[in-house]
Symmetry: C2
Subunit: 453 residues, 2 copies
């Protein structure tokens, strides 16, 4: 089995590796220009990446009423553009590359969203993936009409209903064979096979029918990245691909085992989920060259950008926390998750803001060295149970081009990366079937509305 | 002054001229295939059309709990796909063609929608137009979480606030010069020029700031088609382009005069709005040939599809109205508007369902003849005050290709159609400026949030 490779990007200037946009080789400063993305997508397809994956937000990081001077100066996900409407430009310029994007459950009603995805799945001939998020930004919630963030567990209850509604529309509203396009008989579609879903739940009511006909995958490939207990349980039930950001292969292995166990508990197979570890790379023809390149990259890191991204740059009043502040003394929803995550790496003392700054500057685990050394490193992650790599970039398109030109050939030689794409939809490429499998909760809506018109 | 030309389409198999998809030359049966749309957009650009315009819906036509057998069989806007996510595929395959689409105010929150439009305006380098609709389908409202349609006037009050929020985000959230991309100083954007809008209204609360930086047009070119008194008043205040479907040039002239008068009352210039009349064409090298072609097209018309589109195919219980039923005895929200509209053509008696069926089968006013005769006809519409034509199609791409190959050259010779595109944004092409003018209500938000962070 080869590893899968995602290019982890965002429709913005500074996504993860803050500060890098300042380098002359960083094309991401011009992310507004569609040609930049078309060029990148073509490179990724030439390099046999499985997918380009767009992260997204609905608002600013940081405290509820805090300042965003640091964010704007760093281009820290502001300005940022909608990824969904960019994808068809990439779809018509590629044939195999998966097109994955993040959409939060508050961004639009499930009916509108389900139609958007179905349209994109038609346009791309089955290459779309959805990263389900609940949204963790106070400003994002306020942008979308709420007074503030919904409490974490309630958010997941709402997400549970949101995905269920979309499953009903994708899997249950149209039977196979409803679309006839029969010119001679004058029957475009057979209404007896198109059903209203009449969903009435706690958060949503949706009558249906779904307006698009079934796309190749029906339900798009489902990504998720929840790291909390609730998030992990959600992923175990719903995700087909899970992003992880483990600090080491050992920690990754633990998390993967636990999520797979939960998946099996939920009636799925352990192999129904593929795990993608986020890693950034620095490639040199010698180890020394790689270290020199790393020093250059480090020089461009914006520490304040890194902290602001973690919602730790500033207090509610906009001032910075002193470095020696103990994380346990900072009481926000975000801080708990970060603290839990940080304790896996800082085990000998109470983690401080300074520890966090140090870790986040390298938070996407980094592999530095020759292509062979990097391949060795990836083998270790693979042995830990990782199915794929979420390749975090420094500078675009350079980080990916370098990886494609120098690392991919070595990986292919070792059987760690695919030589050619498999034909068919994204799910077919990853799991061998166009449609989501029968063990997934989406599948129970198949045929569920047979009597409904 | 030349006339402007829009191709009036929808991401569906049967948009206006129901029944035509059954003809072997109708490519619209494969509207799911993005290549079909890319090909059409390229043809339209080669033919110097101003824009491709996508209509859209959020649900089915027809009575609230009626059957949709007629709709599905006719492909009557079901299945149908989201137009928004299709546009970037067209944007990267064209350079000048305007990209206009319909989006209803219930489809998504204004913050999400404003970001979608700004992204598309960036991608297309300023070629996006928005057709503001409030939604007139009961099923559409129920798909989007409401128990049913909002009463007409309240819908427009909500629309008023929706557009106002988007104006705030497009015009007021980012000052000129906020985006610096200054690598040397490490300043991507200047937060002192990026403002929260902190909108709290009757229907929406949106904090901001807008996430995308200003696109070329900021506010997209604004289309509207409201025919009711409230709709017309809304158009007079907000629209830069208005769709009309007048039964004759005289009626068009009346309506145009009235809307322009309302626009002036609202502080705008009469010339701030361009009017596009919907017309379909049948072109022949002789009049006789054109009439033969018309007979062939007529043969393919689906009368039941035409009626169902007008929400008149069936009673609430799903049965058909007898042809002699007086329209004034059918009491639905839609029927009032249709009756008013029909009385302009049927002046000697109370209009019946039979009258309606007859009229709707030719409802987009039709010009039939040689290219010269059609040019003569268009001259009459132009003399009535029409600025552009919404070209309704029968069969795709044939209806447009025929118009481009045979009618456009004659129109150009007469100075009725542009020889070449003007450079720049869609608004630049139509009005000479990238940005919406100072008389428009959007403009009052410029600089309105200077003190807000």
């Amino acid at each position: 089995m080869t590893l899968h490779f995602n290019a982890f990007v965002m429709n913005t200037a500074s996504h993860i590796q803050h500060g890098q946009w300042r380098h002359p080789d960083s094309g991401q400063v011009d992310f507004d220009d569609v040609d930049f993305w078309v060029d990148l997508a073509k490179r990724l397809e030439a390099g046999r990446f499985d997918a380009i994956f767009f992260a997204d937000v609905s608002g600013l990081y940081g405290p509820a009423d805090g300042d965003y001077e640091v964010h704007a100066r760093n281009g820290l996900q502001i300005p940022s553009n909608d990824p969904a409407v960019l994808l068809s430009a990439l779809a018509v310029n590629t044939e195999h590359l998966g097109l994955a994007y993040t959409s939060g459950i508050l961004q639009m009603p499930p009916f509108t969203f389900a139609r958007q995805i179905s349209t994109l799945d038609h346009i791309s001939r089955g290459r779309v993936a959805w990263n389900v998020v609940t949204g963790t930004q106070e400003n994002g919630a306020r942008n979308l009409g709420l007074p503030g963030l919904i409490p974490h567990d309630e958010r997941y209850r709402q997400a549970e209903e949101f995905v269920d509604v979309t499953y009903q529309l994708w899997e249950g509203s149209w039977d196979d064979g409803a679309l006839l396009k029969d010119r001679a008989r004058g029957v475009y579609a057979d209404a007896s096979k198109i059903h209203k879903i009449r969903h009435k739940g706690e958060f949503y009511s949706v009558e249906g029918p779904h307006l698009p006909s079934p796309s190749r995958q029906r339900t798009p490939l489902l990504f998720q990245a929840g790291a909390s207990a609730t998030g992990r349980s959600f992923a175990a039930r719903h995700a087909e691909a899970v992003f992880i950001a483990a600090p080491s292969p050992e920690v990754a292995a633990e998390g993967i085992t636990e999520t797979r166990r939960l998946a099996v508990e939920a009636g799925r197979l352990a192999s129904d989920i593929k795990f993608f570890q986020g890693i950034s790379f620095v490639v040199g023809s010698t180890e020394e060259e790689a270290r020199r390149k790393e020093a250059d990259l480090e020089e461009y890191i914006s520490a304040e950008g890194m902290l602001a991204h973690m919602n730790f740059g500033t207090r509610p009043d906009g001032t910075a926390y002193p470095p020696e502040t103990l994380l346990k003394d900072i009481d926000t929803e975000t801080s708990k998750g970060i603290l839990e995550w940080l304790r896996r790496s800082v085990t000998d003392r109470e983690p401080t803001v300074a520890d966090l700054a140090d870790i986040v500057a390298r938070r996407a685990t980094r592999l530095v060295g020759t292509p062979e050394q990097i391949a060795d490193g990836l083998q270790v992650w693979k042995d830990a149970g990782v199915d794929g790599i979420n390749v975090v970039n420094w500078r675009l398109p350079g980080s990916y081009q370098e990886f494609i030109d120098h690392v991919m050939p070595v990986l292919r030689k070792r059987g760690l990366a695919q030589e050619e794409y498999t034909e068919g939809s994204l799910r077919k490429k990853l799991f061998g079937t166009d449609l989501i499998n029968d063990r997934h909760p989406a599948a129970r809506h198949r045929g569920a509305f047979k009597e409904s018109r």
